[in-house]
Amino acid sequence: MLERLAGDDELARQLVALFLIEYPKLLTTLRATIESAQGDDVRRAAHATKGCLANFVESGPHATAYEIERLAAEGRVDATPPLLARLEREIAAIVIDMRKFEAGASCGS
């Protein structure tokens, strides 16, 4: 994460703080659109989640969000719930790293 910010710890901390506020809203929207099975809404919500994650990681949850986006674009929303569960686990893992980073420890992502 810090590589993209060229070691700018202060900005990285601010971005992490923003992400920690933002990700629950993104996941809530994504979950709601998947439950209502609205393909285009799922695609948009997954794209927004993927975009926000791209500020920090290029694999893991980013790749999972992209997979949900791709399935939604193909009209296969029914195949996305397992991916949503995986995405939530992956985001939970990076959130732990981020909270450590916020607290002053190094962020491994």
Binding site: R4, L5, A6, L11, Q14, L15, L18, F19, E22, R44, H47, A48, K50, G51, C52, A54, N55, E58
Partner: protein
């Protein structure tokens, strides 16, 4: 130079604002296409813009298409940013009216360099527009001097467009770069000396 950024990703938007302000740009931030469209119609619209492709309201390509239809905005330099990785999207983005296209995730130094290109092009366009105005004014003055001038047969004053009779020096000074230094030619000198002598 003012720059408009429009992106629904609050994290990237914040990061963009911080970087752009460090690079001495003045930033206007928008979270969606409709906000961006409204900001484009401010009293002093920005000269540079960074639009995300996918945004609520109007997406980036639509913003590009619509702003190119507005004469006051048509010279704005626009960079589209997107996570769309397909090559055909690059073409679609540029054909929508964007001047440049950057794929996410992008390198900050690359963005800075591309913005410098945009600033230079905008600066050149403005300098060129100012030159065109100057040339149009000069051409208008030359045409006026080259046309039929109504001149008094006795005192040689010239009638201007406002129906005022002006000294020929004053008239020429207004419509050209000519300046006058007054003297007396030998013929007039002879005539006037003869009058004084009488």
């Amino acid at each position: 130079m003012r720059i408009l950024i429009a992106d629904d990703d609050v994290v990237l938007r914040y990061s963009l604002r911080v970087h752009l302000e460090r690079w001495s740009y003045k930033v206007t931030e928008c979270a969606d296409g409709h906000q961006a469209w409204a900001a484009l119609h401010a009293d002093e619209p920005p000269l540079l813009a960074i639009f995300d492709w996918n945004m609520p309201g109007m997406d980036g390509p639509r913003l590009c298409r619509e702003l190119r239809e507005v004469p006051a905005l048509s010279a704005m330099y626009v960079i589209l940013i997107t996570s769309n990785q397909d090559q055909k999207d690059v073409v679609l983005g540029l054909e929508s009216g964007a001047d440049d296209y950057i794929k996410k995730p992008f390198d900050w130094n690359e963005l800075r360099a591309r913005l410098r290109i945009g600033s230079r092009i905008v600066g050149l366009q403005h300098a060129l527009a100012a030159k065109v105005v100057d040339l149009q004014q000069a051409l208008s003055d030359v045409k006026r001097l080259g046309g039929l001038l109504p001149i008094c047969a006795y005192c040689k004053r010239i009638r201007d467009d406002g129906d005022y009779w002006k000294q020929i020096e004053q008239y020429l000074s207004e419509y050209s770069e000519a300046q006058f230094s007054h003297g007396i030619c030998p013929q007039c000198l002879e005539t006037h000396l003869a009058q004084i002598g009488r």
